[in-house]
């Protein structure tokens, strides 16, 4: 059930949206995005790229998870206007990634409600990996 404008105010939180990520998820994303980078597919290549734990996940997939979390919150009639994030920490194998967010601003434009959120993607330990923002239209 999509959120409605009357349910949104500054401080409202985005429902948590989680996926466990490993090669099953990364390989599917590599296949659709043609993103066959060795350090996303091979532990040794991941270590050569500077990650001691081996292969690691794509930033673009974490970005997709933010977009999906927003879509699932606003529903098919809503519009994702803008999403931005920085990749500050690595998505390690078997991480459970959780998209979180909080409304920081709300305004009305031409009869639509425009909502700005602060977003992030937490890893299994609850550490933020991907601070960012989003603007959606309800």
């Amino acid at each position: 059930m999509a959120v409605t404008a009357k349910d949104v105010r500054v401080g409202t939180t985005l429902p948590e949206w989680s996926r466990k990520t490993s090669f099953a998820e990364w390989n599917r994303y590599a296949a659709v995005n043609e993103e066959f980078v060795p350090f996303h597919m091979d532990d040794e290549a991941g270590r050569r790229a500077g990650n001691d734990e081996g292969a690691f996940g794509m930033g673009n997939l974490r970005y997709a998870y933010i977009v999906n979390a927003l879509h699932d919150w606003i529903g098919d009639e809503g519009v994702v206007r803008e999403v931005g994030c920085q990749y500050r920490a690595i998505n390690q194998k078997d991480d459970v990634l959780t998209v979180v967010g909080e409304v920081t601003e709300r305004s009305e434009e031409d009869g639509r409600t425009v909502v700005t959120l602060r977003v992030n993607v937490l890893n299994t330990k609850g550490q933020p990996t991907c601070p960012g923002h989003a603007v959606v239209e309800l």
Binding site: E25, A49, Y65, D76
Partner: protein, 164 residues
Amino acid sequence: MDALTYVTNEMLEAKGVWVSGQTSYPITETDIRRWAMATYYPKKPPRIYWDAEFAKGTRWGDIIAPPDFNPFAWSLEAPRGTPRPGLVGRKPDGKPMTGMNGGQTDRYGVPMRPGDVITARSRLLDWHEKEGRLGLTLYVRSEIEWKNQKQELVRTRISTSIRY
């Protein structure tokens, strides 16, 4: 002796200059469905991305692509795929550089739909270098703009590439 830098003359010349890029193949329903299945895996994606009958009843009137959908995957002709102006820089010793995605901000226009053909153009915006955990590191900002066959703006992306 000059200070160590990965910045090249080509970067200085390219700064701010729009470069026409690729035109995508027409987007298909299958492209969109596969994308949504991959990014929602293991759960089923929303019907708006794969069920045309359902989509008729929405404000969009048809299947639309997820905003982050990439229509340039699986291009054949060189240069492959969408232009990537952030993949620049050169090590003085000639060793290959490693690149990582530092982040991005996308602003979306009209949604992509089955049948759309997307054209990209791009430019190098700016860069800076600093010493990090992995030694000298180059941070490059670039901009890519996508329009559809009606010249409607689909997406503007400003991204940061990390090069070391």
